[in-house]
């Protein structure tokens, strides 16, 4: 018999969304329990927040630019615009006070004025640009511990439990000790983020194997726009572990300049002010420009091109940029030297199909907050807003309703699945090899997609599922931090998430933002400004679309060639 812990609200994930969900649900008086696969406030992508956007309603021009940024450049017209209006209110009134009350210091000048990234929009930094995330998360972590909220760290949620109608909790594996238990909840909030380590080069952190997406697939939840997958262009090539160091192509603090990209001939092929003066988030533009360089043989996806800040005063970079230390550690001069880069699979626009007014998913009892949803790309501020909305909605509902039983049989089946991987031997592949293979498949699929290469990726994933996974063998059956055991569970999650992503890509018959299909090389706002939804029911994949409204900022063109669009 496995242990069962009772709670009103279960929050899965310890980033910006999860931490705020926990705090806001607790504020409402609900009993809250948190499970974090890594360490609270130290894992996941929230610690990568370079800065936080400063929303102001008072300056009309800046506000207009902010909206263009949110809708056009950051979300490619796939954001929920009514959500954006509510989130803007939150950012103007609550986000900063909540964190400053806990002691966050946003950088000011000698006279006490807030220092800002002075671009079309405004952003603030805590400490330095690139070091903001760890500081904000550290305060949230301390606050959650201060309140004595139960947090299960280094515990992986392996499945969502249902009673046939609603989600009523989850099964959890504490991988430090190999303890398997159930958290029985009235409501469950999924906050597992938008950044996963699913390709050979990726920004996702070690533990991020898209468990949230995978569990949603297995439970039959609807997922939308999974294929809108950001790749970052200006990420460090070597050493490999530093692929998560991103040389910001977006506005920097202390200067109006941005980083530049140079091809293998040393020719500059991208900088924001020259090549996409209107774009506030130049990532998709960088990708398109790099694609042209790769096609012309002047760069590769994994190297052969450089980025740097050598046209900017070194003192400015050293004063405001956390990334400046990359140069000094490599013995390079930030004012002179450039660094070779490669692309990384960075973050996912899509996720669980949510009603963004309450962050409810298509499954009763299951909420989604932050980047794991489909209504907005993510980011520290918006994810915090989602956490508040989901936390309050889930808490209020839980306090007003009774507890529904979970299926003991489902727990037994899941326990058997999880412990089924705990078999040692040398007569089969190691789980890490399955993970590496999946990452390679997604890397090979890469940025330039078409019907053929997506079908090939699907077939390759299927081969891993059918031929590799059943034969997996571990080196040890220890239950103490068994890396191989975790890898096996991760590989299964990655397979489900990647399959859903590729299927979703096959359904979208256009190109948009960071999603490029050679066979449909145009942006089609007439037919595809929608949620492109997939779900798996009883092993069968289903799909549908749901139009997206544009009450505040409609697209300017209904259709345009992909390489002519600037978003």
């Amino acid at each position: 018999m496995v242990d069962v812990l009772e709670t009103d609200v279960l929050v899965i994930g310890g980033g910006a969304a999860g931490t705020n969900a926990v705090l806001k649900a607790a504020d409402r008086g609900a009993k809250v329990t948190m499970v974090v696969k890594g360490l609270l406030g130290k894992s996941g992508c929230s610690i990568f927040a370079a800065f936080t956007p400063y929303f102001q309603k008072t300056d009309e021009e800046i506000r207009r630019n902010r909206w263009r940024f949110m809708i056009r450049y950051y979300n490619h017209y796939l954001a929920d615009q009514e959500y954006c209006a509510r989130m803007e209110d939150y950012m103007c009134t609550e986000f900063y006070p909540d964190l400053e009350r806990l002691g966050v210091y946003w950088r000011r000048d000698a006279e006490g004025r807030l220092e800002m990234v002075q671009a079309r929009t405004r952003s603030l930094v805590a400490h330095k640009q690139g070091a903001t995330g760890p500081i904000l998360m550290d305060k949230r972590r301390r606050e959650i511990f201060r309140r004595g909220i139960p947090v299960y760290e280094e515990c992986a949620v392996t499945s969502l439990l249902t009673n046939g109608e609603r989600v009523v909790g989850a099964t959890v594996l504490d991988y430090r000790r190999g303890r398997f238990f159930v958290i029985h909840a009235k409501n469950t909030i999924l906050a597992t983020g938008h950044s996963d380590y699913l390709a050979t080069r990726a920004t996702g952190t070690r533990e991020q194997s898209a468990d949230g997406i995978a569990m949603a697939v297995r439970t039959g939840a609807e997922l939308a726009n999974l294929e809108i997958q950001w790749w970052h262009v200006s990420d460090v090539l070597e050493p490999k572990s530093w692929m998560r160091y991103h040389l910001y192509p977006n506005p920097l603090m202390g200067t109006l300049e941005t980083s530049r990209l140079y091809n293998s001939q040393g020719e500059m092929f991208y900088e924001q002010k020259t090549h996409s003066p209107g774009a506030a988030a130049p990532y998709t533009e960088q990708l398109r420009r790099l694609a042209l360089e790769v096609a012309a043989g002047r760069a590769r996806w994994d190297g052969g091109y450089h980025s740097g800040y050598d046209h900017i005063r070194a003192e400015t970079i050293n004063t405001y940029q956390h990334q400046a230390k990359v140069w000094s550690k490599l013995g390079l001069d930030v004012g002179k030297d450039r660094i070779e880069c490669g692309i990384t699979w960075h973050m996912r626009h899509g996720g669980l199909n949510v009603n963004a007014e309450r962050m409810e998913t298509s499954l009763p009892g299951l909420y989604a907050a932050g980047g794991v949803g489909c209504h907005y790309l993510g980011g520290f501020g918006p994810a915090s807003f989602d956490g508040k909305v989901a936390g309050e909605a889930a808490a209020d509902d839980a306090l007003a309703s009774g507890r529904k039983p979970f299926s003991q049989e489902a727990v037994a089946v899941e326990e058997k699945r999880v412990f089924g991987f705990l078999r040692a031997g040398s007569d089969g592949p190691r789980p890490i090899q399955a993970k590496l293979r999946i990452r390679q498949i997604m890397w090979d699929l890469g940025y330039v997609k078409n019907e053929r290469n997506m079908q090939a990726a699907l077939a390759a994933l299927q081969a891993v599922r059918e031929e590799t996974v059943p034969r997996l063998r571990l080196q040890s059956t220890t239950r103490n931090w068994n890396t191989g055991w975790m890898d096996a569970l991760d590989a299964c999650a990655m397979l489900d998430a990647c399959e859903a992503t590729v299927r979703s890509g096959l359904n979208r018959k256009e190109s948009r933002g960071p999603f490029y299909r050679e066979d449909y090389p145009y942006v089609d706002n007439e037919n595809w400004m929608c949620r492109n939804i997939v779900k798996r029911m009883n092993g069968e994949w289903q799909s549908r679309t749901q139009p997206i409204q544009a009450p505040y900022l409609p697209p300017e063109k209904s259709r345009e060639p992909f390489f002519e669009a600037d978003y």
């Binding site: 006279e111 050598d310 103490n480």
Partner: protein, 316 residues
Amino acid sequence: MSPSLKQTTEPDKVRLRIYRFDPAIDRAPRYDSYEVPHTPRMRIMDALDYVHETLAVDFGYRWLCGSKKCGTCAVNVNGSPKLACWEEAQPEMTIEPMDNMTVIRDLVTSRDPYEAFLAKLQPLVIRKREYSGFPEPLTEADVASAVHLRDCIQCLACQSVCPVLQQPDSGFAGPALLVALSELSQDPRDEGDRAKMAAKEAQVFKCVSCYECERVCPVEIPIVGEAIEPLKRLAYREKSTPGARRAGAFLDSVKKLGYVNPSEVALKTQGITWNGLRLAFRMALRGKIRLTDALFKRPSPGAETIKTTYDAGESR
């Protein structure tokens, strides 16, 4: 200007000896050896990843961000703690868990004692006045003294080398916790009794200023000078604790006499105790101290100069 990839003489191979120990199964630790190809600009973590990934070895190690933000990958490399994602791979590396920590498996250690101690220090700004709303009045100068302390990523390398923490049940917080406490004590918004916390909960006077913590800090925080010394100055007022009394007596003795008078320091720290008297008597018998010094304290010839220097320093 040509794109530059700095050419350095990098070795062809990296040899690793990795500490393996599973407390649930193994009676004693062992070391497994691996040889991996060196890759450009290779970090320690890249070598560990190669063993895990390409050689498919399931040893336990912890890392999350790979980019010096999470502070979870610190391990001992050839006897000294290093942040694996940050430091260069060496041609020969013996990799072990950090010292002063409980091993969960192989290189993974428990962070729980650190978190539990941190919670005791109430590690968030303590406000007695109501928060005035964003942005609250602050300037860069108000928080400048703690600027380096904000770099701390809690990798615990400093805790692992602290000689005081090597003493069982020392009660000492250790450098990482003192960095956290010191940052709060230097925050003009904080109204917590940090002096008391530093003296009582954190026992800051147990720090022997050996600078080992600074030597190993991957983010190069001047831990002694900018975190611990300011805390000691603050806690010095907490005369209810022996640490603060000892520090005060030490200072008074030097100021007054120009040298440290041990009996005076002992008397002021502990008062008159049976054990103290016995010890003093035995030390006097063996010629370690002169009882006359305890009774007739004579200033050293340069005492006046020393006092002037102190006073000048304190008034600054």
